[in-house]
């Protein structure tokens, strides 16, 4: 038997490295200990798997250092009952069994730092097939049959972009992978690179062959140090085995792959801004046309896809485009990976066939809302997307159906919110983000988002005015139509969708001076429930501004004029007597 420890960023943050060294300390050399990337069940990290050959014998969850000895003994004595108490429950396991994994097929299974591990799972077979038996045109045709669309957010047909780059004149062409996963709340691409870097390399090589590119770049955001290290090692290993470089696998196809680390700018997720950044400049979008397929990196024909798009390619080549297209809906084929987070019971990475509903993902796979709270909304597409309310939970996951709600498919961030989340503040949160991240090139985005942010701040501060909602809507329209790039054009989406589905919350803030979710501090009102208060005086002692009065064993009162809404009284009350209104 061998022990495999999940060491993606989430696992490491939860303590996987400590568990690893504790296991090392107890095990002697005859026990095989390995690592894998992100299993996707972040809510159960650290995770330790026990394998017999290639069969998973036990998955142990929320493992602590103190469990190391038991784990080692269980393996040594071939007695897994010793670790029964750590085994994953059937209910939690259903998080995985309800998924269909293509892009993530090796995540949490293969060892990301070992090329042999990838090869054992059929790795680089698709590349061999392409180089030895398919023309570039046939590859593009296969991708066309698959219906694969760009997983970065816009959903543009992948074959079309490849074909445009192939048809462009010029010998020097570039292939670029967009791994600048800037959408706050999304971590699919990080997981793929950290857990299965060779899959990305293979997908990129197939694309490079199809468009005729000799040079490829992966633009990774600097916040992902582990991804950069593992991808670097994978490139080195693949080069040694002649899977990268000159005359790959003895054919006439040559391609080099380099990593470029980004330096932190959300706008660099926009393809032309990314190209500017690759050239070492400020990442400001270019006017299109010309499109990158004609004039991209160094003004040469270039093709850009995101990580997840490439991660699907080797599977499609080996299993046929038809097999991929058999999953999904009429207009959206294959699977999509989502990063399920927020107020969800089981958060992590979810890959499902298109066509499932949002309810399936949030309630069946994610297990619904934490702490028995009520579902309020789900945010898709980050700062370019929108909030979808409960009434629309049966919307199917499909590019068209999601766009019809006002949100977008996006790159895969799926943040779930409960009744305690204020939707006006949510819109403000995203506009704060876009204001800071706007590159400043065009007026509509630079100033428009700023003004939107100011109005939203005024509303959450309790200083909203009549007509503010209409003003927001008008401003949103002009930013949408006037901004230069996709990011500016979609920046108003969080505002528009929250107004569309949660207008009553805006009205409560403006007209009644009330935040229905109780989140906006300026509008919060702390009140003591006299029937619950025992007069213990603790709150009065804790209050930093002496706003609470009352004598011992008598119900206390809060002077709302003095109250600074710090919440200390509520967090200290032992009788749950303080309410927020």
């Amino acid at each position: 038997m061998r022990i495999v420890i999940g060491e993606g960023s989430c696992g490491i943050a939860a303590g996987a490295l400590k568990v690893h060294s504790a296991i090392d300390a107890f095990a002697n050399s005859d026990i095989q200990i390995g690592i894998t990337g992100c299993i996707g069940m972040c809510f159960l990290e650290p995770i330790v798997d026990i394998y017999e050959e290639n069969e998973l014998k036990a998955r142990l969850v929320k493992v602590k250092e103190s469990d190391a000895q038991n784990i080692v003994n269980a393996v040594k004595e071939n007695n897994l009952s010793l670790v029964d108490y750590l085994k994953i429950s059937d209910e939690d396991n259903s998080f995985l069994t309800q998924q269909t994994r293509i892009a993530l097929r090796n995540c949490g299974i293969a060892d990301p730092e070992n090329i042999e591990s990838y090869k054992e799972k059929g790795g680089y077979e698709a590349l061999k097939k392409v180089l030895t038996s398919m023309t570039p045109e046939e590859v593009i045709e296969e991708i066309k049959t698959s219906g694969l669309a760009g997983r970065g957010g816009a959903g543009f047909p992948t074959w079309f972009k490849w074909n445009a780059a192939r048809q462009s004149d010029g010998d020097e062409k570039y292939l670029i992978c967009n791994a600048d996963e800037g959408d706050p709340g999304a971590f699919m691409d990080r997981a793929v690179i950290e857990s299965d870097p060779h899959n990305l390399i293979e997908g990129m090589l197939i694309a490079a062959y199809a468009i005729g590119a000799k040079y490829a770049y992966v633009y990774v955001r600097a916040e992902y140090p582990l991804a950069i290290v593992r991808l670097g090692k994978a490139i080195e290993d693949a080069t040694k085995e002649n899977l990268l470089g000159e005359n790959i696998l003895g054919t006439s196809f040559s391609c080099t792959l380099r990593i470029k680390a980004g330096a932190g700018a959300f706008v660099c997720g926009e393809e032309t801004a990314l190209i500017e950044s690759l050239e070492g400049k400020r990442g400001m979008p270019r006017l299109k046309p010309p499109f990158p397929a004609q004039k991209g990196y160094e003004n040469k024909p270039s093709n850009i896809n995101n990580v997840e798009t490439f991660a699907n390619v080797p599977w499609i080549i080996l299993n046929s485009g038809k097999a991929f297209a058999s999953m999904g809906t009429e207009t959206s084929k294959g699977t999509k990976v989502f990063a399920l987070t927020g107020k969800i019971r089981r958060g992590g990475l979810v890959e499902i066939p298109m066509g499932l509903t949002l309810r399936d993902v949030i309630f069946n796979i994610g297990g619904g809302i934490r702490n028995n709270k009520k579902f309020k909304a789900v945010q898709l597409g980050g700062p370019s997307g929108g909030c979808i309310p409960e009434a629309l939970l049966d919307t199917v996951i499909d590019y068209k159906a999601l766009s019809a709600t006002g949100a977008i498919m996006g790159s895969g961030g799926m943040v779930v919110m409960d009744e305690d989340t204020c939707m006006v503040n949510m819109a403000r949160f995203f506009l704060d983000f876009t204001t800071k991240e706007s590159c400043g090139k065009c007026v509509h985005c630079r100033i428009g988002t700023k003004r939107l942010f100011e109005i939203l701040t005024r509303i959450t501060d309790g200083k909203g005015k009549e007509g503010d909602i209409e003003l927001l809507e008008e401003l949103c329209d002009s930013v949408k139509s006037g901004a230069l790039c996709g990011l500016g054009q979609t920046a108003p989406n969080p505002v528009l969708t929250t107004i569309k589905y949660f207008r009553n919350e805006y009205e409560a803030h403006i007209n009644e001076g009330r935040c229905p979710a109780g989140e906006c501090a300026a509008l919060r009102k702390y009140v003591i429930d006299e029937t619950k208060c025992r007069g213990c005086t603790l709150c009065a002692k804790k209050c930093p501004v002496n706003a609470i009065s009352g004598s011992v064993k008598q119900a206390h009162k809060i002077d709302t004029n003095k109250c600074i809404k710090c919440g200390l009284c509520k967090s200290n009350c032992k009788f749950d007597a303080i309410e927020v209104k």
Partner: protein, 162 residues
Amino acid sequence: MCENCSKSDLTLLNDVLKEFASVRGSLITILQKAQEIYGYLPVDVIYYLAEKTGNTPAKVMGVATFYTQFRLTPVGKNLIMLCKGTACHVNGADAVEKAICDYLEIKDGETSADGLFSLKTVACLGCCSLSPVMMINEDTYGSLTPQKAVEILTEIKAREEA
């Protein structure tokens, strides 16, 4: 160049310049390496790099100020990167930020008086399932509460002072 500018040891940049100065499109990489050396980008380093890479100082400064990774002032011994991504926001990152600010008596972007900590809020660290999250130097801390965050800082402080 100004008279009051910092006087950095520019010879430390020799290796970086040797490798990258003539490679087109390497300005961001060079600035990243320079920041690794000095901890931030001193003004004299920016002028020097401009000269050596054939750019104007304005262009180098433009790139340095565009990306959030680059700093123009020195940071404390421990850099706290507090995530304020969507998942962290929904799970209470604001309260954690307030607790850290109160404890260290600084605001976002500032360094504590003892020089031990600098606080920087960032857009997303990609550990959304463990939100709210912060990174201190290379270590990630998840599932934070205001209390837990202060405990972690207290512990680091005690270690530094020991």
